[in-house]
């Protein structure tokens, strides 16, 4: 079997590539390296069953020819700069929605029909149903990022109905772990390295969020593909619990052995479109036998350890 991974040099894509290669699956990885890091795939690049293609999903011609011969597509590439979506509103539409369309068309052109898609728990907007199940009430979107992911889900579902595709759509919480390169642990660690006495925090520290370790995330994806066979398979992926931003700050500063002054921006939301409480109901994926091996705290610590060993990541761009 040959798997095609978009965003292969990204956080989740590169971890997935390593895992698939380890499982004996050949991988063609596609990435424009705009945010992906070649270092992340250095191990994969040394593997005989891995092929890397530097390309952009907006380059349909290159995409169409790169995907030839693949059996299954893991479409993980995305603009994931959620916070700054409002500064450049076309970016999510182009890099997430239109790019997903391009992936689907490349698949259709080459008669490839199985797609795995990384969506987000943010598609539930500010739902009142918490923990939020996959069939929560029809949501109202609160960010361009989530909207673009919802559009991607819809396109994939329509291709399943119309062209005989089969899909596994995963609505993630934030993912932690090795090769993590954006998000609150990243931001906090970077700030604390610069000034261990002061930590500016977006929001009031009371936002409650759930996180998942990247290894657990990938295990869940592979188990869902193996064990579910509907036309459209949708799964929430997240930890069994959640934490407050202030909890996470406590773990981080404890691990680093420092006691910075916390400087809150003081609002309920870290940024416009930020959701003060994200906690997904993960009964559906758990019913397949999956469970997360790491707690949120362990995931945070693993991430810190990784960042400590990879300071180059903090200083890029």
């Amino acid at each position: 079997m040959i798997a095609f991974i978009t965003g292969v040099a990204g956080f989740i894509g590169s971890n997935l590539a390593d895992k698939l290669l380890k499982n004996g699956i050949s991988v063609i990885g596609y990435d424009n390296l705009s945010t992906g890091q070649e270092t992340f795939i250095s191990k994969a690049l040394a593997h005989p069953n891995f092929k890397f293609i530097k390309g952009d999903l907006l380059n349909s011609q290159k995409l169409n020819s790169s995907i030839i011969g693949c059996d299954i597509v893991f479409h993980l590439s995305a603009n994931a700069d959620i916070k700054n979506g409002l500064l450049h509103p076309f970016r999510d539409l182009e890099q997430n929605t239109i790019a997903t369309y391009n992936v689907l068309e490349a698949m259709r052109y080459n008669n490839i029909q199985k797609i795995i898609f990384s969506s987000t728990g943010s598609v539930y907007g500010e739902t009142k149903m918490i923990p939020t199940p996959e069939n929560a009430p029809f949501p109202i979107q609160t960010s361009l990022y989530a909207t673009s992911k919802l559009s991607g889900e819809g396109l994939i579902q329509a291709y399943c109905e119309g062209y005989g595709f089969q899909s596994w759509i995963f609505r993630f919480v934030s993912i932690l772990g090795e090769r993590y390169s954006h998000g609150h642990v990243f931001d906090f660690y970077k700030k604390l390295l610069k000034d261990p006495s002061l930590l500016p925090v977006l929001g009031n520290g009371k936002q409650r969020k759930s996180y998942l370790y990247v290894g657990d995330c990938i295990d869940a994806i592979l188990m869902a593909i193996e064990k579910s066979n509907e036309k459209v398979n949708i799964y929430n992926l997240g930890a069994a619990d959640y934490c407050a931003v202030s909890d996470s700050i406590g773990w981080i500063t404890e691990y680093l052995g420092i006691k910075p002054e916390l400087q809150f921006t003081g609002t309920e939301r870290g940024w416009i479109g930020d959701n003060p409480f994200i906690f997904l109901d993960t009964q559906k994926i758990r019913s397949l036998g999956w469970e997360s091996k790491l707690t949120i705290k362990e995931g945070v610590i693993k991430t810190l350890q990784y960042l400590e060993q990879n300071h180059w990541l903090l200083n890029r761009n």
Copy 2:
């Protein structure tokens, strides 16, 4: 007040323009006349408070300058050829999703923040909750058309959250009445004119659908704008009941005084992505005091009367 109407030369857009002008509101109408008909706006064109601009929503520059000075936008333009979506999958994405983005950007650029959007009951996919309320369970999309409308809804909602817009989103059933120019009454009437002895019917005739008369539709829209003031206001619009395709065939043939042989294609769905049962819960809009004046049957007859007087519509293209 100046209203901007996209798709002003279309079925609903032209009826809306006439109504707004009658209510003393100035209208700037925008249409590329690809499916819109100049004849539909002949009355509006004679009105001193109406200005027509022939332009495409994909022409951002023209759109941005045309919309200047407007207070509210009725975004009705769309590719509405639902049945043939699978023949040209980019069309819905481009003409509905990307065009909606262009409208939102033109508004943002010109500091216009109120938008009315014509979405569709098809965004509920094949929901099991019938009649279907606005907060039905998170749907799975079954057509590229509905997906593109869902994406439009999401973009509008994200603009409300991020840029202070206010929106009224209407999920329509199929609309009937004067200037109706595609849909089952149109298709049946055209076929029966050609051969009154035989009527080919997509599906098994048992699909159940709801319809709404265009005058009732426009009354509902204007009442919702007047009486609701949330950041995002979402309303289903439909009749209080539904009918089977075979009921509608009965009304049409009775009205025409003919008894054609019915030739069913024999499946539960008229086409891929067709929903065998659409019936929206319209409690929310009714709670504002709105109700439909015409029954579905009366709407079908009105439509037939209109088509009888406008045979030119049957032969266009």
